[in-house]
């Protein structure tokens, strides 16, 4: 690669990082506003998360006496950076994945686990019993939801491969060929089931109610984050926002990859900002149904309920979806139904 190519890529990465930080906090603000309206409240202004971060940055940064300082300080940085990096492998609006050449959906799946692992490391490094319990719960939750998440990823990519597309795991391919347009009626139901599974994985990935057992404000007093304050807490707060944006981008890339410029004719200079806005609208919609609606309507699950929900119910639903997609693929190949 030429020096110019590297410079261009670096510039895109910086732009995307800024977008990830601002967009993530914006999505958190929208989530809080919508939740407030559903509870018949006025709620905070949409820029509230920005104010919170600005406040946290001017607070004292305490390191507890029992903590392991290097790990304690490293964990928030890793959580923030790794969640931003995921976005470089995902399509955002009509911006193709910046580092798409170097990684596919499987890499994204692995990278999505890194912020959670950083939080676990930070929790154990805090030297507080609350944080330790929270870290253990975070690990259990992670083990629980990774399996259904893997089923969704494998299912969609396998169906794209069965339709004869080259490189079905690359996000460029997935975003360019929406799963709904490839499948017949049976596969459509299968894809709907997989979408449901991915939607239920979302709150656990973002540690929101009903799957926020690891933070559990009322029982663990903040769990993993209990000892964090000031700048470190601000970084975790930012990472939470970025993770929200990233997971919305994953769902959009797999299931709703349409762009405004592909649907309406528009001049090229308008396409880029219009697609970006359309992407934000899609993320708000996805997060409203997957996160906000669920967290307002439900209470918290116990940790053993979380595990059985993911390993038993959602795995079964995911497998059913996978089987329907496979059946659909063979039906289309045999020529029984048209795609």
């Amino acid at each position: 690669m030429t020096l110019l190519g590297i410079a261009t890529m670096g510039m895109w990465c910086i732009l995307l990082s800024l977008f990830a930080l601002a967009g993530g906090l914006f999505l958190l603000g929208v989530d809080r506003k919508l939740a407030a309206h559903m509870q018949a409240r006025i709620g905070p202004p949409i820029r509230q998360p920005f104010i919170d971060v600005a406040k946290l940055l001017q607070k004292e940064n305490i390191v507890p006496a029992n903590a392991i300082p290097c790990l304690f300080h490293l964990a928030p940085v890793i959580a923030l950076v790794s969640s931003i990096v995921v976005l470089f492998y995902l399509p955002v609006g009509s911006i193709l994945p910046v580092l798409g050449v170097y990684g596919d959906l499987v890499l994204v799946m692995y990278l999505l686990a890194v912020p959670a692992l950083a939080m676990v490391a930070g929790g154990f490094a805090s030297g507080s019993p609350y944080a330790t319990v929270g870290a253990q719960r975070e690990m259990v939750t992670m083990i629980a939801y990774e399996f259904p998440l893997a089923i969704v990823v494998i299912g969609v990519a396998w169906r794209l491969g069965a339709a004869g597309l080259p490189l079905p795991f690359t996000l460029g391919t997935i975003a360019a060929n929406p799963i709904w347009t490839l499948v017949g009626p049976v596969g459509f139901i299968g894809a709907l089931l997989l979408l449901l599974v991915l939607a239920v994985v979302t709150p656990a990935e973002l540690s929101r109610i009903p799957f926020d057992t690891q933070e559990a404000e009322t029982e663990l007093a903040g769990g993993l984050l209990v000892e964090y304050s000031g700048r470190n807490l601000a970084m975790f707060y930012l990472a939470q926002g970025v993770k929200t944006l990233v997971f919305a981008a994953v769902i959009i890339a797999i299931f709703f990859p349409w762009n405004l410029s592909g649907l309406l004719a528009m001049p090229p200079w308008l396409a880029w900002p219009a697609d970006l806005l359309f992407f934000l609208v899609k993320s708000i919609l996805v997060l409203f149904f997957a996160v906000t609606l669920v967290r307002v309507g439900m209470a918290r699950f116990r940790i053993n309920q979380v595990v059985s929900l993911y390993w038993v119910y959602l795995s079964v639903i995911g497998f059913l979806g996978l089987i329907l997609l496979m059946a659909d693929a063979s039906l289309v190949t045999l020529g029984v139904v048209g795609a």
């Binding site: 709620g43 905070p44 406040k55 001017q58 607070k59 305490i62 007093a221 903040g222 209990v226």
Partner: protein, 144 residues
């Protein structure tokens, strides 16, 4: 200490019960209901003193709680405010001459805002928050 205006719009509150009769707690909970909705102003209840900017102290500080109150106060990150809610914390209230009191609160930790009442109404608690914000603005203006 350099404070900017973001601090006023994002006060995270931690509640500490130093031996209260639970009357003030009920009024604090009433003050965060949708009817008053303090989240409009960025006020949020948090579970850990490390995350908090404001500590609400209720109760007259009984003997066993003095050490805990000092430790929780020390755990909060600077800059921090303390609001003393209820007559008990201000003067000891009906328990003023009890053998078991270490309080009132301001003999144990520095208090910024006093909210009298037994228990204070939610409106009084919100008025206390406004007083706390005025104090913060004075500090930001350079006064001590």
């Amino acid at each position: 200490m350099k404070l900017n205006a973001s601090f006023n719009r994002s006060l995270w509150v931690y509640h500490f019960n130093s031996g209260s009769c639970n009357g003030c707690e009920i009024e604090i909970v009433a003050a965060i209901t949708p009817r008053y909705d303090p989240e409009r102003f960025g006020i949020k209840l948090v579970g850990s003193p490390r995350h908090a900017d404001v500590m609400l102290v209720t109760g007259p500080v009984v003997h066993k709680m003095k050490d805990r109150l000092l430790r929780v106060y020390a755990q909060m990150a600077d800059p921090k405010l303390v609001m003393c809610i209820g007559t008990c914390g201000i003067s000891g209230g009906v328990f003023y001459d009890s053998y078991n009191l270490e309080g009132p609160v301001d003999e144990v930790i520095p208090v910024d805002v006093y909210i009298p009442g037994c228990p204070p109404r939610p409106e009084a608690i919100i008025h206390g928050v406004v007083k706390a914000l005025q104090k913060l603005e004075r500090i930001q203006g350079g006064e001590q």
